[in-house]
Symmetry: C2
Subunit: 338 residues, 2 copies
DNA sequence: AGTTTTTCATAAAACGTTTACATAATACTG
DNA sequence: CAGTATTATGTAAACGTTTTATGAAAAACT
């Protein structure tokens, strides 16, 4: 069984290969009659246009690569899922670029566009895996790339962000409203912009409420569940324990709740816990975790659309900021008396 | 700035393009001297070989597509992560094929190899998205594909499976050993092979222990967390409640534990719960969930290696079965007296 | 009928590689 | 040193498309 390419289809339908190609890509410019013939032949032969051939010719791979630290994180996998759905609608395939937090790997993935393996990049990271030193003409030539959630220092790049500061402010305010005064945080990785913004939001809320900042209540986590566990343990050792813990992601909140339970604390009666992200299972833990919802589907959809515009040389907003929602569930409650 | 291709590098280093290509792909067959020249030119020009060009010529995309129902499931994302790591080592990129449980999409992803967009398939599904009706010569020509975890009915295909039956048997036996007699299960999607095998394991363990089967204790779940919630609620309505629940995945176990807590049951004192998979956060819930560990990294690694063999026309084992481990944590305990 | 316009199809030239084959250069043999 | 084996390079033909000229045929005007 000889391999069937466009040539075979052309022969079968008695037209030139150019006509076959046109029938498939620009049906409207070929006459009804020949279109029919060609389509029949395509179907009969079971012709599948070779992607590499067309990619080579059009100089478009039809792929995008999403560079993300860890697919295993439920927040990330939620985003990826949303992206993929949207990418497919727009005719793109997604290459997975799980970096495992390794900048080297991020660079390798980013290079995919230089190699023509991908047309654009969706970047979830605060460090830029591409070179932005200007060339002799002072021009930086960026690949189509949109920076999502985590912001790189490089300004001149399209971004889709979440209002982390406001989100954190709302969470903190929620705790304050419940009467909490000693509110600890377990942060994410120190250098991430999400972390910095959330921290700012937390501090602003406290200041705003006239609560003195206490750096001892700022525990350094890393967005991973174990750090939620570790840091909570440390907090419990304090003589003047906090009455509430704001974790910068739900995963750490899960870890916190776990430690609290393990040590006989009731949540929220003895200690309130609030997370961030609203991952899928936040509502299925016990108690259901109060959190700040990030609009995962919207993030995925938006960043893919932004990238699409760049890919198609259409104008795209330089900066888009999405809003969060405070989701109050059962892990936050009034501050214990005394 | 003209685009730099192999031609420019050839010109720059004063050799033919063939030599450049050889220097890059088969350095050993080109003389030390010219190799030097070429490599210098490559570096100076910042040459990045175009993937589409080479793919077209070699008829290899260098991509594999992993077809999986839902990246958002922590078990799945764990696997994907493992696969990706291994794929990279072997020089392959991974295209994400999240089907959202839609067979249509699975077929589309599978077609990627017909279109030359991917070289092989890693399939996590019990229905086959490719056509296996024999041609005129009675031959089926399969793409390079390995079927993982979930088994399709089609025998003549390479598989990497987990011993689900034994895993389920061990879990059930563990409960039996703790004195439980009324052991409910919350199953996965009815048609999946994993589900059938786990069910078989459960039943065999019971029979083996001389415990009468009670179909009312078999609750139909779907591997999603909400179904753990729903089905557990139903179980609690029974006059003769079970004393233990075996959930066919950890997610459903989380749901079960949640419902139990919400309704005032202590786990494991009033009711034991055991899961399956050992997803990353199983140990961080409260109580930490006892479960049957699937060797996620090994699964990912093994199936990728198997696929690699197929891709390189090397002999590959038709069937590989990996073992599970019983992980006893805190959600299972002795059956309540009386 | 002759001219212009429109529509449709073709031939051929890319796209950027790799590689079979041919040739040139070098090393080895007796 | 001629003759042969070996090694290193170059030439040119693929790989499977899309698309730009280009031309032929058909349709629409004088």
């Amino acid at each position: 069984m000889a391999k069937i390419g466009i040539k075979q289809v052309a022969a079968l339908s008695g037209v030139s290969i150019a006509t076959v190609s046109r029938t498939l890509r620009n049906p409207e410019i070929v006459s009804e009659k020949t279109r029919q013939k060609v389509n029949d032949a395509v179907k009969k032969a079971g012709y599948k246009p070779n992607k590499m051939g067309s990619s080579l010719r059009t100089q478009e791979s039809g792929n995008i690569v999403v560079i993300i630290p860890d697919v295993t994180d439920p927040f990330n996998s939620g985003i990826i899922c949303a992206i993929e759905r949207e990418a497919q609608k727009l005719g793109y395939s997604v290459l997975l670029g799980d970096t495992q937090n390794d900048p080297k790997r991020a660079e390798q993935y980013a290079e995919m566009v230089e190699y023509g393996q991908a047309d654009g990049i969706l970047l979830f990271s605060y460090n830029l895996p591409i070179d932005v030193t200007p060339d002799e003409n002072g021009q930086v030539n960026l690949p189509p790339i949109v920076n999502v959630c985590e912001s790189t220092a490089y300004e001149n790049i399209h971004k889709v962000m979440v209002d982390d500061e406001e989100g954190a402010r709302k969470a903190t305010q929620h705790l304050i409203d419940l009467g909490h005064k000693r509110i600890a945080v377990i942060t994410g990785n120190e250098n991430t912009t999400t972390n910095q913004n959330r921290l700012a939001g937390y501090q602003k809320a406290l200041i705003n409420a006239g609560i003195e900042l206490d750096d001892r209540l700022i525990m350094q986590g890393n967005y991973q569940i174990d750090s939620g566990v570790e840091q909570t343990k440390k907090l419990l050792l304090f003589k003047d324990r906090p009455t509430a813990i704001f974790c910068f992601c739900d995963l750490m909140a899960m870890g916190a709740v776990k430690v609290l339970h393990d040590n006989g604390y009731a949540v929220p009666n003895d200690m309130s816990v609030i997370g961030f992200d609203d991952i899928k299972f936040a509502e299925f833990t016990y108690p259901a975790i109060s959190t700040v919802r990030q609009p995962v589907d919207e993030i995925g959809k938006t960043c893919m659309h932004q990238l699409y515009k760049l890919l198609k040389d259409k104008p795209a907003e330089q900066y888009i900021e999405l809003k969060t929602d405070l989701i109050v569930r059962d892990s936050t409650g009034p501050a214990p008396k005394g």
